[in-house]
Symmetry: C2
Subunit: 430 residues, 2 copies
């Protein structure tokens, strides 16, 4: 199942694939050295866009859902990576408390939580679920479509520690992105490991900080393998004060769109690319694919109709959009049965553990695919990420392609690690 | 492909399987704690014997061959484990020198070396081969049946470092068990990592030291999960001065056989086992399944014919047997198409990366299967080691069985770690 890839053999992405394969030992060493200096996020998923002429991360999720979309063959890798992660953080750990999102009616999400629990159990932890929802005062039993059930329990907080009834965890894993703000119950937990740290949540996190860090990573990495950093990095700009409802900040937005489009146009010219440039406008703190818009001309952001303005104004849990990211759009050339798709890569600790294609039959190659109507196609086993076939011709080999995805996704993970260091409130104070 | 297992539901091995599954989180935590105190061997393979009523390691190899017998699906796990191992030992490493056995005509062995090289390349190292054979003075090109070739190069030693022409490795990995003694060219390499350490080679290593260490491990582990340590540990005894040619030491041998058989008989009685006890007599420093004999009665070791005495006298590379191990025989109840088989489990760093069945159609359940005529059946993907199905009934589920194999094999790896600590000449001097 190698998705159809529209490229001809002179295309830069094939050059990128070839450079990456040739440099495999130095790339892996480079990652080793990065991880000596920086701590990888506990887990992450990265959305990639493959334009044929460039391959770039467009979103890095530090509270990955969708583990249930990985193929069962990925489980052993995920378990092994989880073992490595636990060993480093808290080898004496017996108990892991997972705090999921409050979507107790989204059975896809519940299956994700179930898969995560399974991974950590297999890695040797007692795993239980605690809810941030204050209306959960008794253990709540949630049936799963695959059979079995989840039990979500009320959290119990004392001065220093967070746990459940008869359950004192060493580590607390958030699978809740804190879009609604940082709840007091999670604050001041200095005795326990809280992962990811609170400043990774959308209450604090900004995509622009991530992509600033990614600029640095892409520059270093591109130098290592001898390519133009643009081949793996989308341009972006940001606007700090946008209010779509009140039509504030439209000028800033139009200017930013214009500037990003101009830069992209220049690169397209340099590489002889015939596509029409576009940008993606999205909430700097947004998530779930909400508040995302494709823009091909600066004038478009000045004439937003009420519907679009409403859509852009509100993201998850009612946050008002005010900071906006304007990101170079990377058209997707990947297709599964004619539908546009994009790879999503899952990582745990420093390891790529699996991935799938997000597919959307009703969307164009220049649109956000993370939207109702999407579905997921797990990568088959032969498409594992870490075993390459350097002798195969560029663009012809699934594992080589997936290795390349894994490399670019790990670059985004390195960027997330820089980002979390730079935004760590404790470091800032020190 | 779950091999046929002759057990009925009241059997102790099923109890063992159930105990192991129930205790999975505490078992994994126990391993984590062991690896906090002890360093796992870089790689290892363990031969297991499953008697239905007990499951035990009978041989632990610290220079594993046979990586080519693992199924291709295991590669990603092996690569990930190799990454973890390298990261801990020498994260800045660029170059790995592998020193293989001198069997340049054994194409099975060459395929093993090829697979190992592939694993380490994928993990991000430049890998080259150096030969201990002093007749290798020019790079030697060896064709592989699977296509491709190996290049074995002459070693270059200066005062402090070992390498090849234009190749200065950070780490030297031995895949040569040093049966012929420790070559001077490997001595005094204090600037480079030499793995496994020289005292792991058969020039120094003794099986009896390994099984003494395993006694300690099995006792601790059996207490953890609440079973009789005998269920996972074969009795053994040793004789220090045996010369089969000159018929010295036969009394010691007969006495040891008698004492082990008596202990086994007692256990068989305790558990109502109807089998006839036997022991395996083997060279304490032997390898490759040479010099191995099944004995059912002490009298048998007193009337050895010339052929058997010759067989027992000489093991690999002409070493004379003088120290002998007398190990409780564990009859194998595992069958693949009527042929007797035994699982072999491969580990890298602390992780189980794969395994296969060693199958021998012409051998009985109480015989050594590591002998000409054996063949190997890789474990299929569904038989991965680290993902269990706790809800399945004991004895009915492949993954659960293989998890159990992986646990017992890792116990032998912990024992190897104790053994190498105890026999480390530098610690002894200190």
């Amino acid at each position: 199942m190698i998705p159809h890839l529209i490229t001809s053999s002179g295309d830069p992405v094939l050059e990128l694939e070839q450079r990456i394969l040739e440099a495999q030992p130095s790339i892996e060493r480079w990652f080793r050295l990065e991880w000596m200096e920086h701590t990888p996020p506990f887990y992450s998923s990265v959305d990639l866009r493959n334009a044929g002429f460039k391959l770039a991360p467009v979103d890095t999720n530090l509270y990955p859902g969708g583990f249930n979309n990985l193929s069962p063959e990925m489980m052993p890798l995920a378990v092994q990576a989880a073992m490595a992660a636990i060993e480093k953080i808290c080898p004496e750990a017996k108990n892991l408390l997972v705090i999921p999102e409050n979507h107790t009616r989204n059975t896809f999400y519940l299956e994700n939580v179930h898969t995560l629990m399974r991974i950590f159990r297999q890695a040797g932890l007692n795993v239980r679920l605690g809810s941030l929802d204050e209306t959960v005062t008794e253990p709540m039993h949630l049936k799963l479509p695959s059979g079995g059930e989840l039990v979500v329990e009320p959290l119990i907080r004392n001065k220093l520690r967070l746990g459940l009834k008869d359950f004192d965890p060493c580590t607390i894993l958030l699978n809740n992105d804190l879009s609604g703000g940082i709840p007091p119950i999670l604050q001041g937990l200095h005795e326990q490991y809280l992962l990811p740290p609170l400043h990774a949540g959308w209450a604090v996190r900004r995509k622009s900080k991530h992509f600033h860090a990614y600029d640095d990573v892409a520059k270093k990495f591109a130098k290592l393998i001898g390519v133009d950093p643009w081949m793996l990095n989308p341009y972006f700009a940001q606007c700090g004060k946008v209010n779509f409802h009140e039509r504030h900040g439209e000028d800033c937005l139009a200017e930013a769109v214009d500037s990003v489009l101009a830069k992209v146009r220049k690169k397209y010219k340099e590489y002889g690319i015939q596509e029409k440039p576009f940008v993606i406008v999205k909430a700097d703190a947004g998530t779930y694919g909400m508040g995302v818009m494709t823009v091909r001309d600066p004038s478009e952001v000045k004439d937003l109709n009420r519907k679009t303005r409403n859509k852009m104004s509100v993201v998850k849990e009612g946050m008002e959009v005010s900071e906006v990211l304007i990101q170079e759009g990377v058209p997707s050339v990947e297709r599964l049965q004619e539908a546009v798709c994009e790879p999503v890569v899952y990582m745990m600790d420093r390891y790529v553990v699996g991935g799938f294609y997000r597919v959307h039959a009703d969307r164009g190659p220049d649109e956000n695919l993370n939207a109702p109507g999407m579905h997921f196609v797990p990568l088959a086993f032969e498409e594992q990420f870490n075993v390459t076939h350097p002798e195969a011709a560029p663009g012809t080999n699934g594992p080589n392609r997936f290795y390349m995805y894994g490399v670019i996704a790990r670059l985004a993970m390195v960027a997330a690690s820089y980002e979390l260091e730079r935004t760590d409130p404790e470091t800032e104070l020190g």
